[in-house]
């Protein structure tokens, strides 16, 4: 008797589940680095698919992933992989591990003011600078001047990626956080003793610092060729995350993003295609 009750309930729940499948309107939220790219995708996709509705907002990778966990967005844009605690939250709320879709590649650019004589830095030197151990340009081959630091807010995937892969320590308390890579570029432009980091797509108008893995390595610029060839040491994937395997309208959109048209837009915006 009890078994038949349980199986009846399971059957009803499964049937009801079919009625709640993929939404037609797609919402995307997350990484500020990916906002312009995603908006471009949405704009072109909606032009070619007039019945589709794709809404894009930024806020940072952490904000996007939180929205995915809370059910407030269908797709989370993230410039870093999901962290284990975030996966655990998704497991407990939606009973899935999320679906990770690498959709573009990006090289994190270190920006210097055009008047700065420094041309290249190693990962170790960047770590020293952004953790506050190196505070004067003369210690890295520059002029005798204090270093001013600009970075992203802690909700940003770029902030997390740079911290985990370059700084490998806490950021210096003097590092001023700015909302968006464009703001970092703008600040570095105006301050001759400054250094900042952000996505390559926003780099117009300031000098790109060459980066080398260690003191003995060759320094590389964040060009398309160097990022593609994995020579530039601070490159990363940009991801879309969904709660479940995409179906319906969401699958159609993601297939398009990963297809020739979507990947062509990746190059146009300044990132690097994954296919």
């Amino acid at each position: 008797m009890k078994k038949s009750i349980i199986f009846s309930i399971l059957g009803v729940v499964t049937l009801i589940s079919f009625a709640f499948m993929a939404p037609e309107k797609i919402t995307i939220k997350g990484s500020d680095t990916m906002v312009i790219l995603s908006q471009k995708w949405a704009e072109v996709y909606m032009k070619t698919n007039p019945n589709a509705s794709v809404q894009v907002t930024g806020g940072g990778s952490g904000v996007g992933i939180s929205a995915l966990i809370n059910g407030a967005t269908d797709i989370a844009n993230s410039s870093r992989p999901m962290k284990q605690p975030e996966i655990e939250k998704l497991k407990s709320r939606y009973n899935t591990l999320g679906v990770e879709i690498p959709c573009a590649k990006d090289g994190i650019t270190v920006f210097l003011n055009e008047s700065n004589p420094v041309k290249e830095l190693s990962i170790q030197q960047l770590s020293g600078i952004f953790s506050g151990k190196i505070t004067n340009w003369k210690d890295v081959g520059g002029s005798d001047a204090p270093i001013t630091l600009y970075g992203r807010e802690n909700s940003s995937g770029t902030y997390v990626y740079f911290k985990d892969n370059v700084v490998k320590n806490d950021y210096a308390a003097s590092c001023q956080t700015l909302p968006g890579t464009a703001a970092v570029v703008n600040a570095v432009k105006k301050d001759k003793n400054s250094i900042g980091y952000g996505g390559a797509a926003y780099a117009a108008g300031v000098k790109h610092c060459k980066v080398k893995k260690d003191a003995k390595s060759i320094a590389y610029e964040p060009t398309a060729e160097n990022v593609k060839a994995n020579l530039y040491p601070i490159s990363r994937y940009l991801y879309m995350y969904t709660r479940n395997r995409p179906t319906g309208a969401m699958k159609a959109f993601i297939d398009w993003v990963l297809g020739p048209q979507g990947q062509k837009l990746v190059t146009e915006v300044g990132y690097f295609p994954v296919k």
Partner: protein, 500 residues
């Protein structure tokens, strides 16, 4: 943050006004320009200093995180002896404060404000290793390492934890220390904890008083817990987490006899020696991306548990007067009685299985089936049928003293080793719980749940009467629970949870 924005706006307006003012003045008097620029620089420096101070203050506040949740509910109980049989309650009212003093140092404090039951839930410090970022040390009062224990009540898919977990880990938390290894490059987690071991447990003396009233340790034996879990991804299907945990502990013997779960004498033991208890469990959690997400979770635990014996003493004084040959004789009789019940060890087993299915973005269905047999050495039909341990011994010693010709005092000391018998505590239960959740928004969850426990039946005598029943008076009407039947004891819960 608003304060900072206001400061920034103020600086911008100030700068624009000042530059305009300088421009106008410069046209009138060019000699004042350097002075004005110096003044402007000084003022901007001053404001910048204030801004940095404000940023520093704000950074301190950012180190404190406050979260919490409230569970308000209405419940209806089908148990005949329950009165009231329906009521509103506040099941959990928690506020959790986390202070990250520095990178890798965290302090957590979480009280529960449920009416009439204000209690400290969590109070611990966590130190993360800064070098490998793989180890952490926790010390204080925190959850014992077990899947269902560590799974937050605000996330759990049914209103309460399974019966076996509630029995083994009462109150969920314990005071102690925990070392955790969680490497960044592999999905492995190993936890090793040491606790006082008696947290949340109630041990009664022969008179019914709790001998563990403050939940502090009352012996020198520490309990050790270990848990290891590993996660594997199953491609696009989902993922599987699996693991095991073990418990090795001891409680001091409070009397000198040990009785086994079948109510036969096991051994003698010295009072104060360790009564060992240990168990092990296997767990899994399968997550599948099927029609919107589902999971299957389960754990099987078996082992040996102990209940220390209890000792109670009573003292009585009786006065008697009698005339003998016109002389009054007063006789005082003092009776000291000590009652000792044996220490009790039982083998137990149990498990729980969850099936959880998300239905769209807002709804979720959950089913749990759990079984707990607290004493696998006897069946339900054996309960109360016989008194298997009847080593009831009474030793009496008397001494009389005569202080003069008229007063006679007799002191009698009696030590009684009482029998113990099987009871409702030996019965196994299986419970089916169904729950439906509606997620109103990010913070609000509405739950309708129905819990259906089924008790193991006891034996009956030749007349068909139950070997075991309990009675309770409800508004002067006697209600009886006959344990030779499966009596109604289901609970319906409508819960509203707000989380922030």
């Amino acid at each position: 943050m608003r304060k900072l924005l206001n400061t920034s706006k103020f600086i911008s307006v100030f700068m624009i006004s000042f530059i305009m003012g300088v421009a106008v003045n410069a046209q009138n008097n060019p000699d004042t320009i350097p002075e004005k620029i110096t003044e402007l620089k000084d003022q901007v420096s001053g404001l910048n200093e204030r801004l940095l101070t404000a940023e520093s203050d704000l950074a301190k506040h950012n180190k404190i995180k406050i979260s919490g949740y409230t569970q308000a509910q209405w419940e209806h109980y089908e148990l005949a002896t329950a009165y009231p049989n329906q009521q509103f309650t506040l099941r959990r009212v928690r506020i959790k404060a986390t202070y990250e003093a520095a990178d890798g140092v965290k302090f957590v404090l979480q009280p529960d404000f449920s009416p009439g039951a204000l209690a400290l839930k969590d109070a611990y410090v966590v130190l993360n290793d800064r070098w490998t970022k793989s180890f952490s040390l926790t010390m204080g009062q925190f959850n014992r390492p077990n899947y269902e224990v560590e799974y937050s009540s605000s996330q759990r898919e049914v209103p309460e934890r399974s019966r076996i977990v509630r029995a083994l880990y009462p109150g969920e938390r314990a005071i102690g220390a925990k070392l955790e290894y969680n490497p960044t490059n592999m999905p492995l987690k190993i936890q090793l904890a040491i606790f006082n071991g008696n947290d949340g447990s109630t041990y009664k003396d022969a008179l019914g008083a709790n001998i563990n009233p403050t939940n502090k340790d009352f012996d020198n034996f520490k309990d050790i817990m270990a848990r290891a879990t590993y996660s594997i991804k199953l491609g696009s299907f989902g993922g599987l987490d699996f693991g095991a945990h073990a418990y090795f502990g001891a409680i001091k013997a409070t009397t000198d006899t040990i009785v086994k779960g079948d109510y036969t004498k096991d051994a003698y033991i010295k009072i104060g020696d360790p009564l060992k208890r240990s168990w092990a469990g296997l767990e899994f959690q399968l997550f599948a991306d099927v029609l919107g997400g589902m999971s299957l979770k389960g754990e099987y635990i078996m082992g040996t548990n102990v209940t220390p014996g209890n000792t109670g003493s009573t003292s009585g004084t009786a006065l008697a007067s009698v005339f003998k040959n016109d002389t009054l004789f007063n006789t005082t009789t003092i009776t000291n009685t000590t009652t000792r019940t044996p220490n009790f060890t039982t083998k137990f087993s149990g498990y729980y299985l969850y099936f959880i299915k998300n239905v769209g973005k807002k709804n979720q269905f959950a089913l749990r089936y759990d079984v707990y047999d607290p004493n696998t050495d006897i069946k339900g039909t054996d309960v109360m049928s016989t008194l298997k341990y009847e080593n009831s011994v009474t030793k009496t010693a008397s001494a009389s003293t005569t202080t003069n010709n008229t007063v006679n005092t007799t002191t009698t000391k009696t030590v009684t080793k009482t029998s113990i018998k099987s009871s409702v505590a030996d019965l196994s239960y299986s419970t089916l719980t169904l729950a439906w959740h509606y997620y109103f928004d990010d913070n609000i969850r509405i739950t309708l749940a129905y819990e259906m426990p089924v008790n193991e039946k006891v034996g009956q005598d030749a007349l068909g009467n139950s070997n075991l029943s309990t009675t309770s008076s409800v508004n002067n009407v006697t209600k009886t629970l006959n344990y030779n039947t499966v009596f109604p004891q289901n609970t319906l819960t409508l819960r509203l949870q707000a989380k922030f």
